[in-house]
């Protein structure tokens, strides 16, 4: 098992290197000059050129890339063009809020999604099932932006129960979590439902019923445990994606996460920040995938690596 983990981590390095090449190239191919964008329309061309030279943006691309990699090996992600701050510090300041939101909405999606999915599967084709899947359809279809604004209008402006966006207390976490989880709950619920339906028809489940076990024991201990593998995959992927930020939710709720950092950097053509954030995100995503794979082995004793 240990060897397996090691092998996976080693294989991640060329993947991440490939990511840096692609991002490096892509962000420079699109039109837009970071120096001009920092200094604004009214700055003189001479001043813009001076900044461009200072940032090394007028050197040939391979030289710029080499400089980037050399710094990376030393653990230095460079400095933001817009703020002059180390990229690592910019990312670190957004990391906490991003993780909070990712964890909270994943936990909500997992609990709510699996509950609804199990409920649907055990009462399949009943009105409970149809209502649940109908709500799931809404969750997947509602635009995040719209849902967020509606929740703000209702709970913050009308009822004044919760703050209208922002970051800080537990109260600030509620609405963004619900908004973000809406989509995931739907996916997890549907996945659980279909996976459970498959499992519930298996022979060993029938055996469990025949043995006279309670419904709870059959459904939760025997059926759900076996149905979880595809569900874990979905949850893992969702969580991994959320670690890269959730730009729409962050914008609507003024949440200081990585999504806004990344999109803001792209709009400002802040090359070091874009490269840094994407790299960090790719690394985290790789780790999450590895964790999910290890989780399979824990959940299903038949699976082992090595």
């Amino acid at each position: 098992m240990g060897l397996y983990v090691l092998r996976r981590l080693v294989l991640a390095v060329p993947t991440l290197l490939g990511v840096t090449v692609v991002v490096f190239a892509l962000i420079r191919v699109i039109p837009g000059d970071p120096a001009r964008l920092v200094l604004g329309l009214q700055a003189s061309e001479a001043e813009v050129q001076r900044l461009r030279s200072e940032l090394g943006l007028d050197r040939p691309l391979p030289a710029q890339y080499a400089r980037f990699v050399a710094r990376l090996i030393r653990g230095d992600l460079g400095r933001s063009i817009a703020t002059g701050e180390p990229v690592a510090r910019e990312i670190a300041s957004r990391f906490g809020p991003t993780v909070q939101l990712a964890v909270a909405s994943t936990v909500l999606a997992t609990l709510a999604g699996i509950s609804v999915g199990v409920l649907s599967a055990t009462r399949v084709y009943s009105w409970v099932d149809y209502v649940a899947m109908g709500v799931a359809l809404f969750g997947v279809s509602l635009p995040v932006f719209w849902l967020g604004l509606m929740l703000i209008l209702l709970f913050a402006v009308q009822l004044r129960w919760l703050p209208a966006g922002g970051y800080g207390t537990l109260a600030h976490l509620v609405l963004p979590t619900v908004t973000l989880a809406a989509f995931s709950v739907a996916i997890v619920a549907r996945m659980t439902r279909s996976s459970m339906l498959e499992v519930l028809h298996q022979d060993y489940v029938r055996t469990a019923w025949a043995k006279g076990l309670t419904a709870r024991a059959v459904v939760l201990r025997h059926a759900l445990r076996n149905a979880l593998i595809p569900v874990i995959t979905v949850i893992g992927l969702q969580f991994g994606a959320l670690l890269g930020g959730a730009i729409l939710t962050e914008t609507v709720f003024a949440w200081p996460g990585m999504g806004r950092l990344l999109v803001g950097a792209i709009v400002a053509r802040d090359y070091p920040v874009v490269q840094g954030v994407v790299l960090v995100f790719a690394g985290l995503f790789t780790l999450v995938n590895l964790a999910v794979d290890l989780l399979y082995a824990y959940v299903d004793p038949r699976i082992h690596y090595g």
Partner: protein, 531 residues
């Protein structure tokens, strides 16, 4: 099933309990904390490196300049300097500093600090965007503790107005040296302003605290918090929910309703940002002045302002916005709307059947930009000009504007121009002088007129105020009738505030003031107030 209901009830109870610490603002007492929702996060807090007006606005709470611009009269008024003398040749300015002013770190404001600040602005390691503003300063001399002398290399009629911009704010040499590398992200104790830097939570908020030793009127609030809220709808929701006391630029379509809403106040005023459609005067039909004038006749600006911009603009009656020095009203009420006249002129120029043209516009950069571009295209179609509206993201747009004439695909585009110094030179030279053709400058009309060039060069070197105004007047008349632009409007800048917040003013350079402003020395200070 009942367990589910129980959980829901519990959840809403918890939610309402959690809401308690963040209660809404009560009407009676002055809040301890003034909360303002802004649309952008700061990039740098060093006054010298300011490029965005909103960020400069926040920095203004902490740092002050030698002189200020009166928000409505637009005259130069004292701030950290109480008196000044200008030599007859216009090359020497001597300032007397206010006595007893201290920086937040306790060190005194003196001529040394002014000299340090100015020399710092010339340092290439400080990324001052509008460096040309400080280039004329050849030397700064310390005469004594409270007297400082500037020697300029050339006559600069706008020098005093330039000194009022945030970049020229006086900083404490000790604080700058103490902060070193971290100065631009944490300018601790470096200013003289009514509030001091406390904390910057990136992407979230900037927190300032009251300066107990401020030389002017005592600051009203213990703390000022700028909340970063990128979405205009959410900003508005925060004001309506009572989470913040003021929000800049709520969504334009909501403004009419907000003007009638008794819970809030909309504070709006004309800004110096002129919005226009630039026509590439070196391309096809636009080479003919009659075609350009026809385009102006074809567009009904008043109608568009009323129905697409919700009255958030004022029709242009000159190439230069009204509040700038040297403004001359060329045509009362703006260019008249007359589709008949437009068709006549087009026919005279040989375009009886109109022509096709590409029409670029940004989205979200100016008030209702994408929307009014489509409205304009519709009106142009009525006179036979078929404009294809295209949009793109801002950086790509800037790159497109900067393309030189040989390679540009620009035929017609929407742009806005705001100059931080309220002087017509900024607009006229920056957009209509041959030297401002891209890529050297940002005048995408590629307009060139030798007489205009001559006039603009002359006014730059003219120290006499009346002669300068005459030169500017003549250039405005020539440019207006040459119509390199479809003259549209100047935007209004606006904020929405809680009903109790009084005395918020809007500066034409797209700033708000929610502080004590020195107006006339005799009248005393104007202060923002809570009722």
């Amino acid at each position: 099933m009942s367990r589910v209901l129980q959980s829901l009830a519990l959840a809403s109870l918890v939610a309402s309990l959690l809401a308690l610490p963040q209660g809404p603002v009560t009407a009676q007492s002055v809040p301890r904390q003034l909360r303002i929702a802004v649309g952008v996060d700061a990039d740098r807090l060093d006054p010298a490196e300011q490029t965005t007006t909103t960020v400069a606005n926040m920095v203004d709470y902490m740092f002050e300049t030698l002189v200020d611009l009166h928000p409505t009269k637009l005259t130069v008024v004292p701030r950290l300097a109480t008196r000044w003398q200008i030599s007859r040749d216009g090359l020497t300015y001597t300032f007397t500093l206010r006595r007893g002013v201290r920086f937040h770190d306790g060190t005194p404001l003196n001529a040394e600090a002014v000299k340090f600040t100015m020399e710092r602005l010339k340092d290439p390691r400080v990324a001052m965007a509008l460096r040309f503003l400080v280039t004329p300063v050849q030397a700064v001399e310390v005469v004594n503790d409270t007297t400082v002398r500037f020697r300029l290399s050339k006559v600069t009629p706008t020098f005093l107005a330039d000194l009022s911009t945030t970049q020229f704010a006086i900083v404490s040499p000790a604080a700058v040296q103490r902060a070193g590398d971290r100065w631009r992200s944490a300018p601790v104790d470096g200013g003289t302003g009514p509030y001091m830097f406390k904390e910057w939570r990136r992407g979230d908020s900037i927190v300032l605290e009251r300066n107990p030793n401020y030389w002017g009127q005592k600051p009203l609030f213990d703390e000022v918090v700028f909340r970063v809220v990128p979405d205009a709808g959410t900003r508005l929701a925060q004001v309506l929910a009572g989470d913040v006391h003021m929000a800049m630029l709520p969504p334009a379509p909501d403004v009419r309703g907000l003007r009638r809403n008794p819970q809030v106040k909309v504070v709006e005023a004309a800004s110096d940002r002129v919005v226009f459609v630039a026509m590439n005067t070196q391309w096809g039909p636009f080479r003919d002045v009659r075609v350009r004038q026809a385009m102006n006749y074809a567009v009904n600006k008043k109608a568009i302002l009323a129905s697409v911009l919700f009255d958030l603009g004022t029709v242009s009656d000159s190439p230069c916005p009204p509040m700038m020095f040297g403004y001359h009203k060329v045509r009362e009420g703006g260019w008249p709307f007359s589709p008949g006249r437009a068709k006549e002129l087009l026919a005279q120029a040989g375009y009886k059947d109109g022509f096709e043209v590409n029409f670029f516009t940004p989205t979200g950069r100016y008030i209702q930009d994408f929307q009014f571009a489509q409205a304009i295209a519709g009106q142009l179609r009525n006179v036979g000009v078929r404009a294809n509206v295209t949009t793109m993201d801002w950086p790509s747009y800037v790159a497109m504007i900067q393309t030189p004439l040989e390679r540009t695909r620009v035929q017609m585009l929407v742009l806005g121009w705001a100059w931080p110094v309220l002087d017509c030179d900024g607009v006229l030279y920056g957009q209509f002088h041959t030297a401002s053709h891209p890529p050297r400058g940002l005048g995408p009309a590629f307009y060139t007129n030798p007489r205009v060039d001559q006039l603009l060069d002359q006014q730059r070197a003219e120290a006499n105020v009346e002669r300068r105004k005459a030169l500017l007047k003549e250039s405005q008349e020539i440019i207006w009738n040459d119509a390199p632009w479809i003259w549209l409007w100047t935007q209004k800048w606006y904020v929405v505030t809680a009903r109790n917040l009084e005395g918020v003013l809007i500066h034409p350079i797209e700033k708000w003031t929610a502080l004590c402003e020195p107006q006339e020395p005799a009248v005393g200070h104007h202060c923002v107030n809570w009722r």
